[in-house]
Amino acid sequence: MRVELRGLTKRFGPVVANDGIDLDFDAGEVHCLLGENGAGKSTLMNLLFGVIAPDAGEILIDGRHVRFDDPGDAIAEGIGMVHQHYALVPTLTVAENVTLGFERTGRFGWLDRRRARDDVIEMSERYGMAASPDALVGSLPVGVQQRVEIMKVLRRDAQLLILDEPTAALTPQESDQLFRTVRALRESGRSVVFISHKLREVRAIADRVTVMRRGRVVGRASPLATDNELASLMVGRSVVLDRDKTPAVPGSSVVEVDGLTVADEAGRDVLSDVSLQVHGGEILAVAGVQGNGQAELAETLVGLRRARQGRVVLAGEDITGLSTRDILLRGVGYVPADRQGSGLVADLSIYENLILDSYHREPFAKRGGRLQLPVAKEHASGLMDEFDIRARSITAPARTLSGGNQQKVLLARVLSRPLSLLIAAEPTRGLDVSAAEFVQRRMVQARDAGTAVMVISSDLDEAVTLADRIAVMYRGRVVAVVTPDTPRSVLGELMAGVGDGAAA
């Protein structure tokens, strides 16, 4: 199947999200769409998948004009999409999820469970997607859930598969597995659209690369192009990919974590006997696949979770069990991973978000708890300039900001206080190259100013780029603390728990 896009244009009010896009997708080909957030990749794919209607332009399939009023039309034409956020029913099995909405039925409309299972087994073998048909989806790791999503699309007989940032939540091993599946799909004559802004992946998987910027196609490249060439196309200027980082000058130990054990609500240990140190003037990256206790570690350090055993000592003072406010007041800054859920109050204004952790103190509040709104607004204006936050106005709700600008607001809030310890979880997740560059530079600046920095990242590239030391977590334990020049394969194995115990 050959899909051609001719002059697709989509405007949202004054914003031109897609401006006369010409693209084609051939059978048996992996076509990577590369671009920063807001470049128009998602809009383009939503046009192709019938989620929104174009203002101009047309879609041709095998030379035939088609019109999609909704995703159902696109699916009927053999187009399938795997979104970043999966639409699975956690309490159903793999086979049930795959058949859902497109059920195999026998006589009298009875569900044919056996054929549903057989479908899964067949697809598993054919495309190298290991998944047990009877496993409950909710109990599966993210990588397997993604396979279920891909199977759902294949079950609807998709010839063109759109994968929207498919590796965002995967381990390096799971990503490699996905790449094998993508290649198998290509061998079967299908066409795959792979959306990403990770250059390394694009080079590994793509047959063709199209780069988008500001709603236009700005370049086509072969996968043989260098990272710097691709990045420059994407951003529109040359980009320094390696953070120009001087060697760390570690000072004295700022925070010492000793034998920390934390249980979740159900009483299961999510952290077991974790011991760590972070020195002033160094960046410790905590690497690991998401969900191996990194988030819980950060939350315990800032007093959002109670430790069952062990203690946290900050600058010589035992802060275990203190309230979050008391810990923050001692010079700890925390940038949570889930910036919309735990970082910002999306419906409060930008300037209110910027004082969310300091509204109760001078100069933002006077005695008697009277808020000094003009002071808060002035404070916000200053930070908007310093952190280059692009917003209509400081009184606009934080929800109106793009992801990168939301992250800058969060960072500005945390860094506007003097810090001895900065904890940043997934600080660049979902950010485009320029925003990520900015955020990482601020982390290094904080380090150079003598702050102890702990960066939690499931993005190995980021961990390696930023870290002076890397602690790898697996199943609630720190399995190793290594230097950043440790080979990727070794880090990947540690993250996957291979040799657990031996390395620790």
Binding site: F12, G13, V15, T43, N46, V51, I52, A53, V302, L304, S323, T324, R325, I327, L328, L329, Y334, P336, G341, S342, G343, L344, V345, A346, D347, L348, E352, L356, D357, Y359, H360, A365, G369, R370, L371, L373, A396, T400, R413
Partner: protein, 415 residues
């Protein structure tokens, strides 16, 4: 929802036909929806009035004989009912012309006075629910809080002898404190044990009702010479003073209510406590992560909300009822929820919605007396307004307005 968002929805194309200002009027303004809800509620109310009138039903039965008679009877019934409602709530035209010929000014102001009397406790009860909403809590407990507020105010009013001004203030403060105490219980239960405030406040309503019933069986609470459950009347100097002479019932409670509305607005918008409440209600996790104690916000929010309901009960008792009976102040709980919803959980909106409800109540009594249309029609209209406001899509489609995107207004989460 007041700003126009750029969003990827199907109706973007439809909206572009309208100028920006008109777009905002159509799609953004909850004020528009509220006003249209009112129109719809009165329209549906008119149908109910017509159907419940035996004369109208007879006229429609004779439709073949006298086609004009049916529509005329319907029109007469609805027009006279709504006319009486208006005259009872706003102004009686004949009293105005009377006044020009030397009649009493009081008669002109009487309907408005009745409206304000009914509005006064509603403002306080509505603010109670609004404030709780702003802390992310749904206060169903206004009923119990108001009952105990009335009880405490009444007890201070008839049991103690205090100097004139001190006495009324003491009675109001007693009502406030009783409400604060009763409201703090569900707040603390939520903060400490996670018990949901909707459940606990409902349960506490029953306890408060039975407590009042029990108190009314004690000798200190029983009016001398009576055997039924009714307390003595409160002392003359604990009654809220009439503002416009003895002929008009409007009393100083309205000044208290409006003053408290100002304080609540200030508390929410200009203090660190209000900031905490708003942050916790809009995103508890983010607020907690930034060091705000959500437990404290819940306790403060629920306690203050209880105090406001308690004050509502006290004002009702000291301004209008004067004596405690079983269920004194109880109706304020759910009316408070209605006006807070109608006012979209804003202070100004709550005050305006209370005024509307007060006018409907005052006018309804007059309507029943003048036209034999049952006062329950008013309750139906009150309910319909809230129903329509809660379903803006229905209102928009009824008036063929473009839809306002996909955003939903969420007032309380997590249950």
């Amino acid at each position: 929802m007041s700003e126009l968002r750029v969003e990827e929805s199907d109706d973007v194309g439809d909206r572009r036909r309208w100028p920006l200002l008109v777009q905002n009027f159509f799609t953004g303004g909850s004020v528009t929806v509220t006003l249209l809800s009112l129109v719809l509620a009165f329209a549906v109310g008119a149908v109910v009035i017509a159907v419940s009138d035996p004369e109208v039903r007879t006229a429609w039965a004779n439709l073949i004989d006298s086609p004009g008679g049916a529509t005329a009877a319907t029109w007469d019934s609805v027009a006279s009912s709504y006319g009486a409602l208006f005259r009872g709530a706003i102004v009686e035209p004949s009293a105005v012309s009377e006044a020009f010929r030397g009649g009493s000014i009081s008669a002109v102001l009487a309907p408005l006075s009745e409206t304000v009397v009914a509005t006064t406790p509603l403002i306080l009860a509505g603010l109670s629910v609004t404030l709780a909403f702003r802390a992310g809590l749904f206060n169903i407990g206004g009923q119990g809080q108001a009952m105990l507020g009335a009880t405490a105010a009444g007890f201070v009013g008839f049991h103690f002898g205090l100097p004139p001004v001190v006495h009324v203030v003491a009675a109001l403060v007693a009502g406030l404190l009783a409400g604060l105490a009763w409201g703090s219980i569900p707040g603390a239960l939520k903060a400490w044990t996670g018990a949901h405030e909707v459940i606990t406040t409902i349960m506490l309503n029953y306890i408060a009702g039975i407590l009042l019933l029990y108190l009314l069986s004690l000798s200190v609470f029983i009016r001398p010479g009576r055997t039924d459950a009714i307390s003595p009347r409160v002392d003359g100097d604990t009654r809220l003073p009439h503002l416009l002479g003895a002929d008009l019932r409007v009393h100083a409670g309205i000044l208290v209510a409006v003053g408290v509305a100002g304080i609540v607005w200030w508390l929410l918008a200009r203090t660190t406590v209000g900031f905490e409440l708003r942050a916790v209600s809009l995103n508890e996790r983010a607020a907690t992560t930034a060091g705000i104690s959500s437990g404290k916000a819940w306790i403060v929010g629920m306690t203050v909300a209880g105090g406001l309901s308690g004050l509502a009960g006290a004002v009702q008792l000291l301004g209008t009822d004067y004596a405690l009976v079983p269920g004194s102040g109880a109706s304020l709980g759910f009316l408070g929820i209605s006006v807070a919803l109608l006012g979209r959980a804003t202070v100004t909106g709550t005050v305006l919605a209370s005024l509307l409800y007060g006018a409907l109540q005052a006018g309804g009594i007059r309507m029943q007396a003048a036209t034999a249309t049952p006062v329950d029609i008013v309750v139906i209209i009150q309910a319909l307004v809230v129903l329509f406001v809660a379903t803006p899509q229905l209102v928009r489609s009824s008036f063929r307005l473009p839809s306002a995107g996909r955003g939903l207004q969420v007032m309380s989460r997590g249950w």
